[in-house]
Amino acid sequence: MLFANLLAFALLVQTGSAPGRVVNLVLPRSLTEGEGLAAELTLGVLERGAEIQVETMSGKLLGVISPHGIRSGHEAGTYTVPVPVEAISNNRVSLRIIRNRHPRGKRAPTPQELKSVKLTITPGNS
């Protein structure tokens, strides 16, 4: 019990010390050889100049969504960022999603800014 609490505390510290929202996702099934994984993020309205950064829990940057060609006040659309297989643990993936707008800094995106995240398995070419 004590051990479990310590683990939970450690997780809270990790989440609290870094900006962003952590999302935990379960793969629909295990990957087969050649298949890849992608995270599909659907965004709402973002302030001009705001970007959405996607990282693994170890801090590896996977990609940055920088809306282009979107009129002010319009939703930014859906984007697919590749997720390395190393990020999979026990058929699960945890991602840290950060809303960044220089110079105001980084924070967790609101539910209005990040509407959904899902994992998709991408077929292999071989």
Partner: protein, 535 residues
């Protein structure tokens, strides 16, 4: 000029594409087997190569000439950028093809005005070089150069220069053009001009002063880590991976959303493909200063007057190059390079109404299908990132090839029945044949051949509607082909997905017979080789 093992010719591609646009009931499946020409008239070099550096000298001369033209001339530098502002698609499946056309006509303009008949736009391979090439800070190759000041020193200066001529042009637009502009949200000239000024929102201003026109500089040329990440090998490889030109599931789609019009603005419901959504968007925005210059105004690259910055065309040359890399990958693995019907016709028939050609004439209505191959502008790319990566993908597939025994116009081979059943049951083709035939010689009447699988002897009914029909391979144009030297041509043709085409499926292995017959005329084709591979 083709190699001995000749690819499907560019003209062949055009022919089948035209057939698609005409609403042909049955499109030859082999039109998927397009391979780019081995030698095109123009070479788009990597900007860092000697050829690329030479091209930049001509590019600079062409820009200078365009800057010198009056604003009433559609080839004026800024007028050219307004074609993009008024008509560019983003977040939809015409993104690639529209920009190919826009950049292709622009390339012709530079070729003419620079008086360099060999000019082709170089590309900036940001995966390999994640910084603006130093040469792109020389003279008019940067929009911060003093040569731009007479036009872009301030918004008032720019307005006085361009607005009257632009309004005259606006008033000359016809009904179809106005309809497309309306879809974009430009119901009036003022609505369009609001995007130039930002209408009070600095970050929305497409105009940039000379001093602020490009965020990156000679002493600060590097893409930041986030932008470099979006251009990294893993992101680009993921972007090249989809095996469909379009799929509603964007993770499976090479292109972005299918929309009613190419001028449909992106927003809710828009799904960005990886290459458009990541390297394309972020490179645009970072060069314009999104981040460091928040809340704007940004440099040109961030908004729709982005072609004011000459780096735009090197950036889009690389995006277009990646489309050609993807196309070659698709061909190599026997997958389509275009969507199936009826989507293909929808994609092909979209009208583009605002282009200006290299002679300064309005092109008038042209359709997307004219630009789906590189043939319209007759160029190819010096190899860059992605070429080797797709080769690796192709090599893996070679392990599962089965070669047929040839006799006359037929090949016989044995495949596991389980593989055939999987192929029949799958949503797409998992078994693809590669059929090699000699290129027809001059004077040969028969230039099209049907590929049949398991067809009974004497099958004479319209083969295109039979369960044995795999596709039609077609040659088009001048059959003299390399001054009388004929080579072989190989076509990738997915096997039919009908049980009737395969015999003995109850056994462990089944015999498959592939046959080619003339689509018309009497000339019996000679089958040089046929293989089948599992995808």
């Amino acid at each position: 000029m083709q190699s001995k093992k000749s690819p499907f010719t560019r003209r062949s591609f055009l022919k089948t594409s035209l057939a698609a646009a005409a609403g042909a009931a049955s499109l030859p499946k082999a039109s998927y087997a397009f391979r780019p020409p081995h030698t095109a008239k123009y070479i788009r070099y990597n900007v860092t190569s000697e050829g690329g550096k030479r091209a930049l000298e001509s590019y600079a001369r062409g820009i200078q000439a365009m800057l010198s033209l009056p604003p009433s001339n559609p080839q004026n530098w800024f007028r050219n950028a307004f074609v993009h502002l008024m008509d560019c698609p983003h977040g939809n499946w015409w993104f690639y093809v529209w920009h190919r056309a826009y950049c292709g006509y622009f390339e012709e303009t530079i070729r003419n005005l620079s008086k360099d008949p060999t000019f082709a736009m170089p590309y900036w391979d940001w995966t390999v070089l994640p910084e603006i090439p130093q040469t792109m800070f020389d003279g008019v190759l940067t929009p911060t150069d003093k040569a731009y000041e007479p036009y872009t020193r301030t918004l008032d200066v720019f307005t006085a220069f361009i607005k009257p001529a632009l309004m005259t042009y606006w008033n000359s637009l016809d009904s179809p053009q106005r309809k497309q502009l309306s879809i974009r949200g430009y119901n009036t000239f003022d609505a369009m001009w609001n995007d130039v000024t930002g209408n009070g929102v600095p970050g929305d201003m497409c105009f940039a002063t000379t001093a602020n026109a490009r965020y990156l500089s000679r002493t600060n040329p590097k893409l930041d880590p986030a932008t470099a990440k979006n251009c990294s090998p893993e992101v680009i490889e993921a972007g090249l991976k989809p095996i469909k030109y379009y799929d509603p599931d964007v993770s499976l789609s090479f292109t972005s959303t299918k929309t009613p019009s190419h001028t449909t603005p992106p927003g809710a419901g828009t799904k960005f493909s990886t290459i458009e959504g990541f390297p394309h968007n972020k490179v645009h925005n970072y060069i314009g200063g999104v981040g460091p210059l928040n809340p704007g105004p940004y440099g040109n690259m961030t908004n729709f007057l982005s072609p004011v910055d000459p780096i735009f065309h090197l950036h889009h040359s690389n995006i277009d190059r990646l489309w050609t890399v993807w196309t070659r990958k698709q061909e190599s693995i026997g997958q389509p390079i275009l969507p199936p019907e009826p989507d293909r016709t929808t994609l092909s028939n979209e009208e583009f109404l605002f282009f200006v050609n290299g002679s300064g004439q309005f092109v008038g209505p042209s359709r997307a299908l004219e630009y789906l191959s590189t043939a319209r502008f007759d160029y190819q790319y010096e190899p860059g990132f992605g070429d080797q990566e797709i080769s690796k993908m192709t090599q893996k597939r070679g392990k599962t090839q089965v070669k047929g025994v040839i006799k006359g116009n037929r090949a016989t081979l044995t495949l596991p029945s389980s593989a055939i059943k999987e192929h029949i049951a799958a949503a797409g083709a998992t078994l693809v044949s590669e059929v090699t035939v000699p290129h027809p010689s001059s004077g040969t009447q028969t230039r099209e051949f049907h590929v049949l699988v398991g067809a009974p002897e004497g099958e004479t009914a319209d083969p295109t509607s039979s369960p044995y029909f795999a596709g039609t391979i077609a040659f088009f144009g001048d059959m003299t082909h390399g001054h009388g030297k004929t080579g072989d041509a190989t076509f990738a043709v997915p096997l039919p997905k009908t049980p009737q085409a395969f015999k003995g499926l109850a056994a462990t292995n089944a015999t498959v017979e592939i046959r080619i017959v003339p689509a018309y005329g009497q000339t019996q084709p000679l089958l040089k080789s046929a293989t089948v591979r599992a995808l």
